[in-house]
């Protein structure tokens, strides 16, 4: 089994006045794990359902392996799907649930048994084959749903928030298992989730969606290190990127440069903000969140609130004065109105910060341990 590619070209889906997808184009490379990520109502499930053929796009086209399947029935699309609710048939045994599709296609008893046995082996369901879905735990039900997808021998797996009904521990286990399964079977995976941790840990490519449009399509690393929009910056990462206006860095910049930066929003990851006695940013600790290995420190700096991640061993306590330093390389700049990333502006601000007086320079350049 090897994966097929999926692509959407200019797909729009609307119900009356509500537009769920607005001119979305995306490519899912063959054999890769692609996560469709976004807040609820962003259109990611709609996109998945359009790929599956359960819903038809209002306009636009769907391609599977380069072939236009916009009007093809779900069964003719070389796809298998795992539903959020698993969609197991409650009156059928685990075995019958798994071979349901094989029976539809009229496979011989021998072939069915063979596929069933190998899928059951792969998923550790062998001893549960005679049970009814209601006698299984959530994780086991999930495996049965996976089994049904596996025996179908399709090259593209579609999953709609498959882990959202599981508890946290099981979710982490299944995350690994699904990722592993995808690699082993070599199938193309299109995986819908609202959980950025899931997307970042599992996917080769993350498609971040918001309001029916794609915000960014990139690898998890690129999406974290260079978010294309303000929304992406704030959606990816726990906790998300801290944003602030240029006034925060006023002490280190000339007034004409400050003027130039007015229409931009700046961002920095909490781990790039470091407490430093020589730091250029002076504030007060407002709140401490102890997480064990790390501690999240919320600082008030003028009107802004900054979040920084420090070691769990820190002695900082709320109410204390704090100075923070940052490395200009770690800054992100976005145009406030459009939310778009502005790398040219970033270059300029790096230059401006490094050409400043010695005192400030040390504050911005001493942090190189990252």
């Amino acid at each position: 089994m090897s994966g097929g590619s999926v692509s959407l070209k200019g797909v729009t889906k609307s119900w009356g006045v509500n537009t769920a997808l607005n001119n979305v184009s995306l490519d899912v490379p063959a054999g890769q794990f692609t996560a469709l990520l976004g807040p609820s109502g962003c259109g990611k499930s709609t996109a998945l359902r359009i790929v599956s053929g359960l819903d038809d796009p209002t306009s636009g086209q769907v391609f599977i392996d380069g072939e236009d399947v916009t009007d093809a029935a779900p069964a003719a699309r070389d796809i298998a799907m795992v539903f959020q609710s698993y969609a197991l048939f409650p009156h059928l045994s685990v075995a019958e649930n798994i071979v349901f599709g094989l029976r539809v296609r009229g496979l011989s008893r021998n072939e069915r048994d063979q596929k069933l046995a190998s899928a059951a082996e792969l998923l550790g369901l062998r001893r549960l084959l005679d049970r009814k879905p209601s006698q299984l735990s959530g994780g086991q039900q999930q495996r049965v749903a996976l089994g049904r997808a596996i025996v179908a021998d399709k090259s593209i797996f579609l999953m709609d928030e498959p882990l959202s009904n599981l508890d946290a521990k099981l979710r982490a286990e299944m995350r690994e298992e699904i990722r592993d399964l995808q690699r082993r079977l070599g199938v193309t995976m299109l995986y819908v989730t609202h959980d950025q941790v899931e997307a970042v840990t599992m996917a080769d490519q993350v498609v971040l969606m918001n309001h029916g449009q794609i915000e960014q399509m990139a690898s998890p690393r690129v999406m974290y290190e260079a978010p294309a929009t303000l929304f992406a910056a704030k959606f990816i990462g726990t906790p998300p990127m801290v944003t602030f206006s240029i006034k925060l860095l006023a002490s280190a910049l000339t007034s004409e440069f400050l003027q130039k930066c007015q229409n931009f929003t700046f961002g920095i990851r909490p781990e790039a903000l470091v407490p430093d006695d020589n730091g250029a940013i002076a504030g007060q600790v407002a709140h401490i969140e102890y997480l064990g290995a790390d501690t999240m420190v919320e600082c008030k700096v003028g009107e802004e609130t900054l979040l920084c991640r420090v070691s769990g061993k820190t002695r900082l306590a709320s109410g204390m004065e704090i100075r923070l330093a940052l490395n200009a390389n770690d800054l992100h700049v976005f145009e406030t109105a459009s939310g778009r990333r502005e790398d040219t502006m970033l270059k300029e601000i790096e230059m401006a910060l490094s050409s400043q007086t010695a005192g400030s320079v040390s504050a911005f350049q001493t942090q190189t341990q990252r």
Partner: protein, 293 residues
């Protein structure tokens, strides 16, 4: 503490008694009394009711009308039960789909249930009227001859069956519709992804999931096939020559037209026996095939 424990059973009886008194007075006592009466003769004038053992039952075995209505009732059940169930299921499947005017259609299907059977009978009386009734008018357009639907022994019973099905199907449809709506749409979608067509989905998924409803509906249909006789009073009064008479209608005739209450009690015992046997049998037979959630 000991006192309250000792007297707790009094509270229990006090709480139970209102319902129990009514049940015993109006259900259990009459039922037992019916069985008892069937072994006595009917009191007439100065002649008192006396114990006559199985005499009433011997009479019953030799009563041609009894056998006639029993056979009639058998055919009545054989046609109304499956047809009303199939029709109601088909209607439920249809109005469960997304379609224009669905609300109106659902209401239209349910209307016969809301109407009293007497009113329904009057409507059908007009349908069946020979010559200018609705059915004959349509037949007239296709140049078929007039037909006396309720007056001919061949068609009288079937005319009654049609009315009963028309009356019942809408009621059963509501149960099927409710059951269909508890089936998650994702099951249908999962089946569609696997390539199952509409009919395959119905056979392998929807119908098995509807089995609890089918059991409930079929028990009701059986009971109704003995119970629904109101339209016979209005339309045929069991005629012609008992062609459309049913067991319950005959019981009424015997009890309140001929005032042979003991014999009516005997007939009632027979009907109860049949109903109980069928209902219990149905329950045990179908229960094995029913998947409860």
């Amino acid at each position: 503490m000991r006192n309250s424990a000792r007297y707790q059973w009094i509270y229990a009886w006090m709480l139970l008694s209102p319902a129990m008194i009514f049940l015993i007075t109006f259900t259990h006592y009459p039922a037992v009394q019916t069985v008892v009466s069937s072994f006595f003769s009917t009191a007439r004038g100065r002649r008192k009711s006396i114990f006559i053992g199985w005499d009433n039952y011997t009479t019953l075995m030799a009563d041609e009308v009894f056998w006639k209505v029993l056979v009639n009732n058998f055919w009545y059940a054989v046609w109304t039960i499956p047809l009303s169930i199939i029709l109601s299921l088909a209607m439920a499947l249809w109005v469960n789909e997304k379609l224009r005017g669905r609300g109106f259609l659902r209401m239209a299907y349910f209307t016969p249930t809301v109407l009293p059977l007497i009113a329904v009978a009057n409507i059908w009386l007009f349908f069946y009227t020979p010559g200018f009734g609705l059915i004959d008018q349509i037949r007239g357009l296709l140049s078929y001859p007039e037909q006396n639907w309720m007056g001919s022994p061949d068609t009288a019973l079937y005319s009654m069956i049609a009315v009963a099905i028309w009356k019942e199907a809408g009621f059963f449809m509501i149960f099927y519709l409710a059951a269909l709506q508890t089936i998650p749409p994702s099951l249908r979608e999962a089946a569609a992804i696997e390539g199952a067509g509409k009919f395959y989905y119905f056979r392998r998924v929807a119908f098995p999931l509807l089995m609890p409803t089918t059991l409930f509906v079929s028990v009701n249909a059986v009971i109704n096939s003995f119970r629904l006789v109101d339209h016979i009073f209005v339309m045929t009064e069991g005629g012609p020559n008992n062609a459309s008479s049913l067991l319950l209608f005959y019981i009424y005739e015997v009890a309140f037209d001929y005032w042979d209450t003991a014999y009516a009690a005997t007939l009632t015992v027979i009907m109860l026996t049949i109903l109980t046997t069928v209902a219990i049998g149905q329950f045990f037979f179908l229960d094995k095939k029913v998947h409860y959630k």
